[in-house]
């Protein structure tokens, strides 16, 4: 069934870890590069698992799991140059990870101590956008800027299958087509928008949306990291060389709940997961690496150790992450605070202090 849906999706590595040819796409990576892809996927998965656990313990308020989507995220982000710019959603921990965003920076928002977490300009990776679809327009505007600058850079923007319903995403397709922007629209079709299944309505394959706007779209097996890289690289190269935008639909699956607040048993069958477990992106690469002697037991063990260390770091780090002082909510509302905000801030401080006094008195 999945295979039927996958349809024309580009694949370079079968679910069994066998390397196959594709007429239009190919990629050659060194063993070291392949290992680092594996390593990043394992670490991101561990980060995800720890965050889920920390949410259950009440240490963070919410978590949107990337489980199962590691190849789509890590593969596409690895295709970027450091000078390129990425616009992730709230689920793209594999992307922010590859952009060098630190685990604590990713977790800060979910812990509720900030609505951001990192410097998007320094990381060349925007903050997570929660309003579905908004960031796709930002990416288009950013790409307009890249074009104005005549810079040799590309922009990639991530969004879900559900997001393609939103006006903003379609308006961003119009912008991309009109101005032939150096932009890759990367749609992670994980088959679900909370409880809404992608195939509910026998909708047209998502990658085909692009043609109607006047640029190419391609579906890739989103659990095949080699194919994801091959397709994304080509799209990014096209973008940088003035070829205009591309829509990449990474066909994958949301293995977890929508977020830790969600209860997917209300709307999908546990059995559906089984078929996708067999298509696990990490296992697939692992088999390929092992079978071809690109990595051995000791390497896999080493990565597992790194993951265990990361878990400790995340647990300790999150617990140590304290809320900022209340009055920081007045910072950065404007570049320079207004008189009204100065007064409100002073009022808050005085008010909070009145309790402290009360306590010491």
């Amino acid at each position: 069934m999945v295979d039927a849906l996958l349809g024309s999706a580009v694949q370079l590595l079968t679910p069994e870890g066998e390397r196959v040819e594709h007429p239009d796409f190919d990629i050659t990576l060194t063993d070291a590069e392949l290992r680092s892809l594996y390593r990043d996927m394992v670490l991101v998965r561990r980060l995800d698992a720890e965050a889920t656990a920390l949410q259950r313990q009440g240490e963070i308020g919410l978590w949107a799991s990337s489980l199962g989507q590691e190849a789509a995220q890590v593969g596409s982000a690895h295709s970027l140059r450091s000078s390129d710019y990425a616009f992730p959603t709230y689920r793209d921990h594999g992307v922010s990870w590859c952009r060098g965003v630190q685990p604590m920076e990713i977790l800060a928002m979910f812990r509720g101590i900030t609505n951001g977490g990192w410097d998007p300009i320094a990381r060349r990776c925007s903050l997570y956008t929660i309003v579905i679809g908004n960031q796709v327009l930002h990416a288009a505007g950013y790409a307009m800027g890249v074009q104005l600058d005549g810079a040799d850079e590309a922009v990639i923007v991530y969004f879900g299958d559900g997001a393609t319903d939103e006006g903003d995403v379609n308006e961003a397709f119009v912008l991309g087509a009109d101005y032939q922007l150096p932009l890759v629209y990367f749609c992670e079709n994980n088959q679900w928008a909370i409880s809404s299944p992608r195939d509910r309505f026998n909708r047209a394959p998502l990658y085909q949306r692009a043609a109607g706007f006047g640029f190419p779209g391609v579906r890739v097996d989103g659990n095949d990291i080699l194919a994801v890289m091959a397709v994304t690289r080509m799209a990014l190269d096209r973008a940088r060389s003035g070829g205009g935008p591309t829509l990449v639909e990474a066909f994958t699956y949301r293995m977890g709940a929508h977020t830790t607040s969600d209860d997917p048993t209300r709307y999908r069958h546990a059995e559906d997961l089984e078929i996708w477990r067999l298509r696990d992106p990490i296992e697939r690469l692992k088999v390929y690496l092992a079978r071809n002697g690109m990595a051995d037991r000791s390497y896999f063990d080493q990565v597992d150790h790194e993951a265990a260390d990361l878990a400790v770091l995340v647990r300790d780090g999150v617990r140590a992450m304290a809320a900022p002082a209340p009055e920081t909510m007045f910072d950065h509302v404007y570049v320079d605070p207004t008189a009204e905000l100065v007064a409100q801030r002073a009022g808050l401080i005085a008010y909070e202090e009145s309790f402290a006094e009360g306590l010491t008195a």
Partner: protein, 323 residues
């Protein structure tokens, strides 16, 4: 009388409205199979079918725009916006179409549309999940705005909103969804009038006007106060029913208005302006406002400092009396 949460009271009210009128249809993201992220529509799709409880695409303008079309066809759509912060993509349809169609058509086309929005903070959520957008809607002529504060009011007013031939923005105080209270499920409440304030607690020294999630806070403050506080739940934010407030202020001489939304341009300003005009010679102090600050809703670990709480209400009561 049955003890229910606000969430369950809304569910029961929606069910009742659907039973009563087959033209009532529900539409929204995840409201069908999942029953909504807050389970307000739980079980309704199972019982009324996919054609009356419609899982929509992920597109808020489409949800409200389609509701306009359904209303043109004679339906009474009740749409859910998943969270307050996601109503803005639908703002254009709300302001330019929902609010203006009756006027534009000179009465020919009614818009019995209910737009349900869980709103407000206090649940530890991430950004865009704790907004209080009521002032935008109250300023928009042609809309009615309702917000219940307890299960009984929720059960009544959701049915009355659906029975109303005008469009209603129905704001559900999400942090109070799990508050319990007595509900008279047997009563036929559809014909009742929800467009009024409710005097919830009598008092003689200071009047406190509030609504939605702040009502419980203000009632608690009144209980804790060492002066006598009268508490009025505005309930209908548009049209405002300030007669009870004015009558109260004529007795107390003091008014405090409380809401979660930011201060500047918030509803408190309107209440203050009107009451000052009506009760100019009765007021012994200016109307004081206890509100969220003029900042974007903060990250959740700071929200307790942003949201008016019992102490901030009492502080304002004291300041008013000491004026």
């Amino acid at each position: 009388m049955t003890e229910l949460t606000i969430a369950k009271a809304l569910n029961a009210g929606l069910r009742r409205a659907m039973e009563h009128d087959s033209r009532v249809v529900l539409m929204g993201e995840d409201i069908g199979r999942l029953g909504g992220v807050f389970r307000i529509t739980d079980g309704l799709q199972k019982d009324f079918g996919e054609h009356r409880v419609i899982d929509s695409p992920l597109a808020e303008s489409a949800i409200v725009g389609a509701a306009v079309g359904l209303a043109m066809r004679g339906y009474r759509p009740v749409v859910e916006i998943q969270f307050d912060g996601f109503v803005y993509p639908a703002f254009d349809q709300i302001v330019s179409q929902v609010a203006k169609t009756l006027r534009r058509s000179e009465g020919a086309v009614r818009m019995p549309v209910v737009i349900r929005i869980p709103y407000g903070g206090g649940i530890g959520a991430v950004e865009h999940h704790s907004e209080s957008p009521e002032a935008y809607f109250v300023h928009t002529a042609g809309l009615r705005v309702l917000t219940p504060s307890d299960p009984g009011a929720a059960y009544r007013t959701i049915q009355q909103a659906i029975a109303c031939d005008d469009p209603v923005v129905y704001l559900e105080p999400k942090r109070r969804y799990w508050d319990k209270g007595e509900v008279d499920l047997a009563a036929d409440v559809r014909s009742g009038d929800p467009w009024c304030s409710r005097l919830l607690r009598e008092g003689t020294d200071v009047t406190v006007a509030c609504y939605g999630p702040m009502v419980r806070t203000c009632l608690e403050a009144a209980s804790a106060a060492d002066v006598s506080v009268e508490v009025i739940d505005l309930q209908s934010l548009s049209p405002l029913d300030l007669d009870p407030v004015a009558a109260s202020v004529e007795r107390t001489g003091h008014l405090v208005v409380v809401h979660e939304a930011s201060k500047t341009g918030g509803l408190g300003a309107e209440v203050a302006a009107r009451i000052t005009e009506r009760c100019f010679y009765s007021l012994e102090a200016p109307v004081l406002r206890v509100t969220g600050y003029d900042v974007p809703y903060p990250a959740s670990r700071l929200e307790e400092h942003f949201l008016p709480d019992l102490d901030r209400v009492l502080d304002a009561v004291d300041r008013s009396l000491a004026w």
